[in-house]
């Protein structure tokens, strides 16, 4: 989000899901779309099979989309800046850039040009392993197609230089003018039902709703007026820093609503130490999670299907969720619990329903002002939507970027924080699978989903397995400098030699016991996609 916000002035998906069906060419990277956003993948697969659209796939794993790919660029994990700079090198070298767009809509082009000059396809091949010819073909296809869309997800962001990866993709789109029109754009796919909304609502340490800055007095003022208080002006802590502060003792109390850091955060041993060091850990959830097991207080909440409200999806569409059944026992909606607590601590909040809260959200969040419960009764609306006559905004940056001119950033390749060596010779990358979801508190309590993938596994190349005498289905111990877990060997040919993949859904084999807590300095996203491990067969 930080990367796109720097380039365009807004961190959100530039185009829409339906619009993705209109592209002539896709550059898909760091998203296993058919597994993690299956319905979005259907729009893309239809375009590829029914309309002769082209697909450039850049992914270290041979994912299902590979069978639809026109060109597959198999980069070594952690080399994204290099190959994206390489594509721009070819585009500039062969005169395929959109000079009008660059001149009229962007700034800082000369710096970009100077930076990518050394990223010749041959130089990039040495870093990334992508054959120079394939990179050239991909660059031409992306630049020359009528409408090319970039689609990415956590495979791009979960690196120590994730922000640079995103900026590089934004550079590529601006260089070729593949943005601001139907079928184009830079499209981050949001992994969770309401990540977009949680960001919009400012559950971020530096923001107030609609991305106002806590550090700007002028930004704080409307909220101070609306809420009748004076607000703190110092940027708060991000999750990794919160964990560190807890471990170090400066942070005394943590209130966790619907989150499970004991599964989702890197280096779980460190997280556990940190949480145990707190004077007060409050966990508010629908199940007793791994984190809840460490809590001083556990508060039961109403879940999906048991409450009213809105989610904002990956394309900025605000949509209703509705109550169908009663919550079990004494569980109650999160908003009721927060209100009770606030009032006990001296506030005087008078919310009687989710809609009451939403009406306040509309008043203080300008991008949501035109979106009412009535208007989205049948069909959601995409922000920005400044008034109740406004139809919403399917495509951002059409006439101008949110920040005015698009900003080219200078990004250089850097190595991941931890690479394989003699002791830990394999590169571990992590992610999700179709049949499970995130820390699996929901999906592992679903009969159908559990029946498909009951146990944790590691994908490993047959040659690597062969060398260690490992057969499909064998029990394997995977270790890193931080811990070890036991999983079953899956020899499905998806990973390249030297690379292994483990999904992070399984608490009994939590892969985040292995991952490295190194973070991107800007976005504070951990490097889940690259760490070094070794494996052995469990006798």
């Amino acid at each position: 989000m930080a990367g796109l916000a720097t380039a365009f002035g807004s961190g959100a998906m530039t185009n829409s899901i339906t619009d993705l069906g209109e592209s002539d060419c896709y550059l898909i990277t760091g998203t296993n779309t058919t597994e993690n956003h299956p319905v979005i993948a259907t729009f893309i697969k239809r375009a590829l099979t029914q309309r002769d659209a082209k697909l450039i796939l850049a992914d270290p794993r041979n994912i299902e989309l590979g069978k639809f790919a026109t060109i597959w660029l198999r980069q070594r994990p952690g080399t994204d800046v290099a190959w994206i700079n390489g594509m721009m090198n070819v585009i500039i070298d062969e005169g395929l850039l959109n000079e009008t767009f660059v001149a009229e809509r962007t700034e800082n082009f000369q710096a970009l040009k100077a930076t990518v000059e050394k990223y010749t396809p041959e130089y990039v091949e040495k870093i990334s392993g992508i054959p120079a010819d394939n990179l050239k073909k991909a660059a031409r296809l992306y630049a020359k197609s009528g409408a090319s869309a970039i689609v990415y997800a956590m495979g791009i962001t979960q690196h120590i230089n994730g922000t640079d990866n995103v900026k590089s993709l934004a550079n590529l789109a601006m260089l070729t003018g593949q943005i601001g029109r139907p079928g184009t754009g830079v499209n981050p796919l949001r992994g969770q039902n309401n990540v977009q909304g949680a960001c919009d609502m400012a559950c971020l340490p530096g923001n107030l709703p609609a991305y106002k800055k806590v550090t700007e007095a002028a930004d704080r003022k409307p909220f101070e007026d609306a809420w009748g208080v004076s607000l703190p002006d110092k940027v708060g802590l991000t999750i990794p820093k919160i964990i560190d502060a807890a471990a170090g003792g400066a942070l005394k109390a943590l209130y966790v609503m619907g989150e499970n850091p004991m599964m989702s955060d890197p280096d779980v041993r460190h997280v556990e130490k940190a949480l145990k060091n707190l004077d007060l850990l409050i966990v508010q959830d629908i199940f007793l999670t791994e984190t809840g097991n460490l809590a001083h207080v556990v508060l039961p909440t109403a879940g999906w299907g048991e409450k009213e409200g809105t989610y904002t999806n990956t394309e900025r569409r605000v949509q209703r969720i509705r109550k169908a059944v009663d919550a079990p026992g004494d569980a109650r909606p999160d908003w009721e619990i927060i209100t009770l607590l606030a009032n006990r601590l001296g506030a005087n909040w008078q919310y009687a329903s989710a809609q009451d809260i939403y009406e306040e959200v509309r008043k203080v969040t300008v991008s949501y002002t035109g979106i009412t419960y009535d208007r989205i009764e049948k069909q959601g609306i995409q922000w920005p939507c400044p008034n109740t006559e406004h139809p919403g905004t399917p495509i951002l940056h059409s006439a101008a970027f949110t920040r005015g001119k698009g900003l080219f950033s200078v990004c250089e390749h850097i190595d991941p924080a931890e690479l394989p060596d003699n002791e830990y010779p394999l590169l571990l990358t992590t992610g999700r699978i179709l049949y499970q979801y995130h820390t699996a508190t929901m999906s592992r309590r679903s009969k159908g989903l559990v029946s498909r993938t009951p146990q944790a596994f590691v994908e490993i190349h047959p040659d690597d397995a062969g060398k260690l005498g490992i057969a499909h289905g064998d029990k394997i111990e995977v270790s890193s400098r931080r811990g070890s877990i036991e999983v079953y060997a899956e020899l499905n040919g998806r990973c390249d030699k030297g690379v292994v993949f483990i999904p992070f859904h399984y608490s009994e084999a939590a892969v985040n016991r292995l991952t490295n807590a190194a973070i991107d300095p800007v976005a504070n996203i951990p490097e889940y996609k690259v760490s070094a491990v070794k494996i052995r067969k469990v006798a």
Binding site: T34, V39, L189, G197, A198, M257, N313, A354, Y358, R445
Partner: protein, 351 residues
């Protein structure tokens, strides 16, 4: 351009079929093997109409409208042909409606009823096929299949999963995964698009079976709880329980237009799971013990207040959730900023 349907002048644009023009003008023609998101094949002949000067009856779902065409949708010739088609469909397999999950929401049942077919003139098939109910999500009852091919075409054209196809000829004709494999042993990813488009009771949700008929269920529209696509879906509710998730066969809204994945269609049974937390709990002597809301809120408020007093507001932090609603996230950050006085609030966008 104009065509005349049952005496009504209907304007149309090039590429529209006779069926589409009729529908747009409020004239109903029954269809069975047709779906608005799938290319028409004109296989079932249920939608036949009489076109003046045409040699034979034509399938309206596949026939492009042409300027000046004169169409009749319910002449005796049309009705007799339609009735014969439905009777032939009914003799394929065994269409027992008594315990059928689709009873009340079945195109074949509606056709037989509206055409007044008491019992078909032909004998039912002699072979009975065992139900495939070996997976936890989808039951296949091929005795009720009328070979409309919508499941095959939805799998290939809508989801592009390329798992289902036709096999066999004549009485052995069938639809399903390659080599007669069961769903769970094939490449099927259980998106359930085939269940959604099936016009009869041949494909249905296993966990919803015998849990409530169409007429017993209340449908509540909502947004999926899983990934960020935000698929729209209907919770089917009976007696305070979500029995199954469905999407409308046609006319479904953006962003998913009725399509779902396995998690959306079959992954919401966690809601009623026995592990759900039902009481607040406070840790006493190392053990979590049940408490009332009053006790829990008082305990938390007292602790938060005293920690803030002793160490300042920045000794407190909150982790919110991309799982929760906008309203809850808004209130959570407002609580930390306006009530507690710290910006230490973040959520899992990075993870």
């Amino acid at each position: 351009m104009v065509i005349t349907i049952d005496g009504k002048k209907c304007e149309f644009t090039a590429g529209q079929t006779v069926y589409e023009v009729a529908k747009a003008n409020g004239i109903s023609i029954p269809v069975l093997c047709h779906h608005e998101q799938i290319k028409p094949v004109g296989a079932c002949r249920v939608c036949v109409v009489e076109v003046e000067k045409a040699r034979s009856l034509v399938a309206s779902c596949a026939m492009p409208a042409e300027n000046g065409m004169v169409v009749h949708t319910s002449t005796p010739r049309v009705l007799s042909s339609r009735k014969l088609s439905v009777e032939l469909l009914m003799t394929q397999g065994h269409h027992k409606c008594i315990t059928c999950e689709s009873s009340g929401d079945c195109v074949l049942q509606d056709l037989a009823y509206s055409l007044g077919i008491d019992s078909p003139r032909f004998d039912e098939s002699e072979t009975y096929r065992e139900l495939e109910q070996t997976n936890e999500m989808i039951v296949r009852d091929m005795n009720k299949c009328v070979l409309c091919g919508l499941c095959v075409r939805a799998c290939n054209e809508v989801q592009v999963n390329q798992v289902l196809d036709y096999s066999g000829r004549g009485p052995t004709a069938a639809v399903g995964p390659a080599f007669g494999l069961t769903y769970e042993n094939s490449d099927c990813v259980f998106c359930g698009e085939c269940v959604r488009v099936c016009p009869v009771g041949a494909l249905f949700e296993k966990q919803g079976r015998f849990q409530g008929r169409v007429s017993d269920l209340r449908q509540v529209r909502t947004t999926c709880a899983y990934c960020g696509v935000g698929c729209q879906m209907d919770m089917n509710v009976k007696e305070n329980r979500i029995v199954k998730i469905t999407t409308p066969r046609e006319g479904a809204p953006a962003p998913n237009f009725g399509s779902l994945c396995i998690k959306g269609r079959f992954g919401h049974d966690f809601v009623g799971h026995e592990d759900r937390l039902t009481q607040p709990m406070i840790r006493v002597d190392g053990e979590l013990r049940e408490a009332t809301w009053d006790e829990a809120i008082a305990y938390v408020a007292e602790k938060l207040g005293s920690i803030r007093k002793a160490h300042g507001p920045d000794a407190l932090a909150g982790l919110s959730s991309a799982r929760c609603t906008n309203e809850e996230n808004y209130l959570f950050q407002k609580f930390f900023r306006a009530v507690m006085g710290t910006n230490n609030v973040d959520h899992c966008a990075r993870l």
